[in-house]
Symmetry: C2
């Protein structure tokens, strides 16, 4: 790695390969939260974990499991990238609260309570109505708090998100989304949510997925950095990081899976449309793990101090990992 900055990405969903593991290394990425489930059930998620376990053996020079903040620090010292497992849905626990500690034992550190649709726990942002956290959701949040599995509300609807913050005894995360005031996508978050997230000690990972960006694929680095400044003003400098939502090298059948899972016979186009069903074109200044330094440079040009850039690019996530990944102290 070419510099001393800790770079942590709050979410990626790539078609992982030795090429991308090498890019993580060459791009100086210290840790990345990787999505290992959209709609997968428990057994399918375990198969994905097994695949990662094999990759950890085969590519031990490049990647290591990231289960604690110390794992991340060690990875930094060794010039490797720590891989933190997370789920974009609660489907891995199926209907079984007992799977929360089981999956934490297997390395999971983030779990979204819902992905676009209503789940057993919470409402997704594409539902017409949001009744908030369900009976099972209240139980599961408490159990996630107990073991140290972070509540992630990136794809959840507003009321559910606000209630999750109220119910959770530990700070939650929105690992990949932008302010709705900047880009009014259904997936982006209101100032109400962002302010509450900041005040409760949570973390926002700012997204580079074109559907979440103003002008989408034509969004400029300068406009993005101006938005970061606004998010920091709203939430505080300790509450903002990157959650790039990098979805590199996947075929379009994968974005169709993300949108349709197994829940519909009609085709759902999610953030796309029938005429634009494919993956969006990435912005010119961020298409792989090699591009984080350019974002840091853009933030410096925007006027952020070195300390602020360090926080946004990684130290805030590292601090959040430190506070979040272990058992709850008060219990």
């Amino acid at each position: 790695m070419s510099d001393d900055r800790v770079i942590i990405d709050g979410l990626q969903y790539c078609k992982w390969s030795p090429k991308i593991f090498r890019q993580l290394h060459d791009g100086g990425v210290t840790a990345v939260h990787v999505t290992i489930c959209y709609w997968e059930n428990f057994r399918e998620t375990v198969a994905n974990i097994s695949q990662w376990n094999r990759w950890f053996e085969e590519h031990a020079d490049l990647i290591v499991p990231g289960r604690t903040a110390d794992d991340v620090r060690r990875a930094k010292a060794e010039g490797r990238t720590a891989i933190v497992f997370g789920f974009q849905n609660c489907s891995p626990i199926e209907d079984d609260i007992g799977l929360v500690p089981v999956l934490h034992d297997l390395g999971a550190r983030f779990m979204q309570l819902s992905y676009n649709n209503q789940s057993l726990l919470a409402t997704g942002c594409y539902e017409a109505e949001d009744p908030g956290i369900t009976r099972m959701g209240r139980q599961v949040i408490r159990e996630m708090n107990r073991v140290g599995l972070v509540v992630d509300m990136s794809h959840s609807a507003e009321r559910s998100t606000l209630e999750a913050m109220e119910i959770s005894e530990r700070p939650i995360a929105i690992t990949h989304a932008n302010p709705h005031a900047w880009m009014p996508a259904l997936r982006n978050k209101s100032d109400t949510v962002l302010k509450a997230l900041g005040e409760s000690g949570g973390m926002l990972g700012l997204s580079l997925y074109p559907h979440h960006l103003r002008d989408k694929s034509a969004c400029t680095l300068e406009d993005f950095c101006a938005m970061v400044e606004r998010a920091v003003e709203l939430m505080g400098i300790e509450r903002v990081g990157i959650g790039s939502d990098l979805c590199q090298d996947h075929g379009d059948e994968v974005v169709a899976w993300m949108r349709n899972g197994r829940w519909t016979r009609d085709v759902d186009y999610g953030e796309g449309s029938k005429d634009a069903a494919a993956w969006p074109e990435p912005v010119s200044w961020f298409s792989s793990n090699l591009d984080f330094r350019g974002i840091a440079d853009g933030l410096k040009r925007r006027g952020f101090s070195d300390d602020a850039v360090d926080r946004i690019m990684g130290l805030n996530w590292l601090d959040f990992f430190e506070r979040s990944f272990g058992p709850q102290e008060s219990r």
Copy 2:
């Protein structure tokens, strides 16, 4: 069997045994919708179906699969009882709409969209809020309509139930519940729901489960029959049957499973309470399949005509099976 009446029970959940199969026969029960799932997932439900398939072989003198109205008529002619499979929850389809036709092929004919809690499809009657039918729920109702799997809203909340009737292109059922106006249990149904159910060609199975009865285990047959009269006035003589919710011979660990599934670490007591967590005592006049004739006699004493008693005791369900269990004609 000792008389010619067709007796059909809209729902039972017994600890099935040769003793109960014999009681079905001796009580003159022509068909019964049996619950084969509360929280079971697909694989567990298939195991329950396999068990029934073995019982069909071992007790072919007493029971036969009931997949069509013709199966029920044939069972009547042969002096056997037709067994209709149903689920009290949508857990057997997990997150997969493709399991709807698969489970219909395996014999399922009723599926509740939710059991007390929020499901992926609809809201249960114990949730604080009811946002109605979800995105997946709309897709699944259409698929259930297509193949002939009846939507059952017995344990669902009010708005979800009304929306299910609107969305479903075929009549739905509430297989086991009573009018809320008679007994204000959370599980019983408002006049609004019952009227809409009657007008849409649906069916109500009146429950004999003590928690759904006025005065619970002390409810008299006379009071029950007066309630039947009121339900018929509200819904029409063709829309009312029995759905006894007979839960015979189970240990208390089973009622705990029904209430708690795998969704909670706290203990949920459902319709019971901490001090009354066990199965309720059945009413003196209905504790097994031997007791249906007594109900018919009670209805006659209340003033119902022979034709009306025949309808309530079985012919209405038979007619509903005829209309509901095959593929949708218009598609």
